[in-house]
Subunit: 370 residues, 2 copies
């Protein structure tokens, strides 16, 4: 497995990013990623389960063929969430404009948006941006595309890996409102490998990457993960490659969590069943007392025991003392802390990566204005 230039795209894909004026700083904010016209495409599209899902998510649910997505059109700076019928119509217009510009069916175009909730979209600017982006897509457009999907991210999140004769490239964004539903943010993945069941493959890889992270326990209204596979290489996707790509991007999101200074990894062992292990791991990872201990470098294992006990309220788990809770690295010097707890109830385990809760998190979110 070899890491290529992180902005590279898998063969058979092209992308672009342009500035249409949604971002007040003039940054790129409209992007398109698409497979070549000749490519045969298999795809999978995972969307947030948030009941207050944004317009583009509902357009994807209702007007896309998730198994044959040829292109994704994305804007940042406006989430187009809680924007009413006009917002839905705007997302449909984005889908149709992109489809027309690159010459595919509208149902083959996924729409994703990210940014502020509840602000009407300046759709004319976006549609103009789509025209310009569509006209400029190319195999070197990965850098502009990954910049065009950023919001509060400290930097672009992208990677490209080659293995077994195939290439997997991916671009992601996300820093706040991060807690898995299906996915947790925006992520676009391209490959020339043969992927016989893209949906199952993507769900499996997401379960071990984006489903394993949390920043603030808040499931977004706009989460979207898209996998596009052309099969042009004629070769299968080697085991672990997609997982490695998505895990790298997922960890980049946690490390770039709003205000984050450290990353923790809580491993729960000895659970009665996998769901229980995951519930306890999430409770620990989202506890503000554990997250402030991670920030303050305080090896306070009692807070881990308390959070686990809350997740198992009413159960009999005996005493969760220091012989069963390893919190030493909470107090360490490193940027990461590996933590574990043994529930002593069975053989199931689960882990979650999480960021700390810091003064910068408060500053960012108390000062961020609608």
């Amino acid at each position: 497995m070899v890491e290529a230039e992180p902005t590279a795209l898998a063969p058979g894909f092209r992308a672009a990013g342009v500035a249409c004026g949604l971002k007040s700083d003039g940054g790129t904010d409209v992007g398109i990623v698409a497979c070549d016209a000749a490519a045969e495409i298999g795809s999978a599209l995972l969307l947030t389960r948030n009941a207050a899902a944004a317009a583009p998510v509902r357009v994807c649910r209702e007007r896309c063929d998730g198994a044959s997505i040829r292109a994704a059109v994305v804007n940042s700076g406006n989430a187009n969430a809680a924007t009413g019928e006009q917002g839905y119509a705007d997302a449909v217009a984005m889908q149709e404009r992109c489809a027309a510009a690159i010459g595919v069916e509208a149902a083959a175009v996924a729409v994703a948006e990210t940014g502020t909730i509840g602000v009407p979209l300046d759709v004319d600017r976006v549609l103009d941006g789509i025209d310009r982006a569509a006209a400029s897509t190319g195999p070197a457009g990965g850098a502009d595309f990954s910049a065009a999907i950023m919001t509060t991210d400290a930097g672009p999140k992208r990677c490209c890996i080659t293995a077994g004769g195939v290439t997997v490239s991916a671009q992601a964004k996300g820093a706040g409102m991060i807690e898995p539903g299906y996915a947790t943010m925006l992520c676009f993945v391209q490959t020339d490998a043969v992927v016989s069941d893209p949906d199952r493959t993507l769900r499996g890889a997401v379960a071990e990457s984006f489903e394993r992270i949390t920043v603030d326990g808040q499931m977004s209204t706009n989460d979207t993960v898209l996998l596009q596979a052309t099969g042009a290489s004629g070769l299968p996707l080697p085991d672990g490659v997609l997982e490695a790509v998505l895990l790298q991007l997922a960890l980049a999101i946690v490390a770039d969590g709003e205000g984050a200074s450290r990353v923790g990894r809580i491993e729960v062992r000895g659970a009665a069943e996998p769901g229980e292990a995951e519930r306890v791991a999430r409770a620990v990872a989202n506890s503000p007392l554990v997250k402030t201990a991670l920030y303050g470098r305080d090896p306070n294992w009692g807070r881990i025991a308390q959070a686990a006990g809350q997740a198992l309220a009413g159960a009999d788990i005996g005493e969760l003392g220091p012989e069963r809770v390893d919190a030493d690295e909470l107090g360490g010097d490193g940027p990461e802390a590996g933590l574990s707890i043994d529930l002593g109830r069975g053989g199931a385990s689960a882990h979650v990566f999480f960021s700390d809760l810091t003064h910068d998190y408060i500053r960012i979110n108390a000062e961020y204005t609608t």
Copy 2:
């Protein structure tokens, strides 16, 4: 309904608080509250459901007759949680020493402890304190008792109300690790009213007070609420008096939440059923994005919609726009903010009071050392 001197005790009760040396500042840290020897007592004892419950909670579960508790013995400065077999034995010793000192059966003495988790209890100091406290209990001891149960509280939380010829007095503590299980902190309630079903009466009042608040979403290992009723007045408890007493103390706990500068009240209407209303209210009340918006006085209704949508993940609730989310007071000048959301799914409603998430919360919890 008349408020009496808040440190007063209901007739037929006596209390005391002494310093035994658990608190490094020499503050009072051992307290006893008991009914007079001649009193007939009916009682109810509610305990945390946290599976990592502290030793005193397990002693109460296993060795107390919750319906006829004559006295409670409490220490602050050490939670006696995750302290192993020795911790359990220490809590039993506290129960037995208090019972002997005041001349009642051990099963009639509730034990409560609060403070740091995971530190062995200096039980000899506590037992000495129990002897001294038992020797000094009196009808004027409410002030010392309520001071003896404090930990990070900014001040004592106590109140006394007379109504319909009866008196209800209560003392509570709590600032962090506040999220309802059964109860959320320590609270002791005394009355000379006739209470025919203390358990049902207490559960009903707790459901509308301590069950309606959150500071940090963290269910404590030590929560305990005790109601003691002698019936000596021969008069019934007027409707609403116990509820008023407990709500006053519950709101004092939220207002004194760790680092809190403002209190929010989220009202969820139009839910399909009460459990759904409560789930959504708790999701909003515990969202760090809503809590930082409360701190930053940002009327960001999108964060309320997002949290509600997460709590209802997978459901179809239509658009949660500003016509259904009232977040105006988030941005107001006042110390309190009344917020509401209408789910449009039915006729059920629920509300939760919550504190904001501030720099002081981070400071307190990142700098607090085990």
